[in-house]
Symmetry: C2
Subunit: 103 residues, 2 copies
DNA sequence: CGTGTAAGGAATTCTGACACG
DNA sequence: CGTGTAAGGAATTCTGACACG
């Protein structure tokens, strides 16, 4: 969870090599809200391995002709589901703790 | 094992921020054989998270006054031990497989 | 031995725009 | 809408050297 996967340390040139995407595309997907790299003090973008995985998925969808807007909506929905699951897990945990204490 | 930890994707400027070490020091530790970053086609160095962890350890040792040569020897010895363990584990595995088959 | 620094060149990254469609 | 490209500037990285000790 506190893994290296989400550390934003990779610059765009390397992302280009890792994903096969052009800088132009990568910056464009950012503008459309599909990824959100970090910015250093002087404004250079830094990406995480997570971002790279996301970009690979985006590349696949784009090849299928899916528009960035749709891709974003799908991604947002998946995130929503994940958040709901986390919330439910938490609730369940708290309920369990509550009943265990009372018994 | 095939984790992100060993992927060489971080440029020296970022390593500088992550470790607090100067570029000069980082390059010097490389020359002494303490780390071995990758090189891109045009010669820029790329480091892994492993390299960064190693650099942090080096920084600690250096603060204690330990010389790079000693640090290298210690690191080489640790690696040797690890290799021996891996070999022994493998041998043990093969022995077990052998006897299990014969019984 | 370990590290700082100035030097000059080459490569990187950024933004805004023109282009096509 | 999605992507390419040329443009100009700013920041990055590299190497070899001089310096101190």
């Amino acid at each position: 969870m506190i893994s290296y996967k989400d550390k934003k340390v990779i610059s765009i040139g390397t992302v280009t090599e890792l994903t096969g995407l052009s800088e132009r595309k990568i910056r464009y997907y950012e503008k459309r809200g599909l990824i959100s790299p970090m910015r250093t003090e002087r404004g250079t973008r830094k990406y995480s391995f997570s971002d790279i995985e996301t970009l690979m998925k985006i590349a696949d969808k784009r090849e299928e002709g899916v528009q960035t807007k749709e891709i974003k909506e799908d991604m947002d929905n998946e995130n929503k589901k994940k958040m709901v699951n986390i919330r439910d897990d938490l609730l369940r945990q708290q309920l369990n703790a509550h009943f265990n204490v009372r018994r």
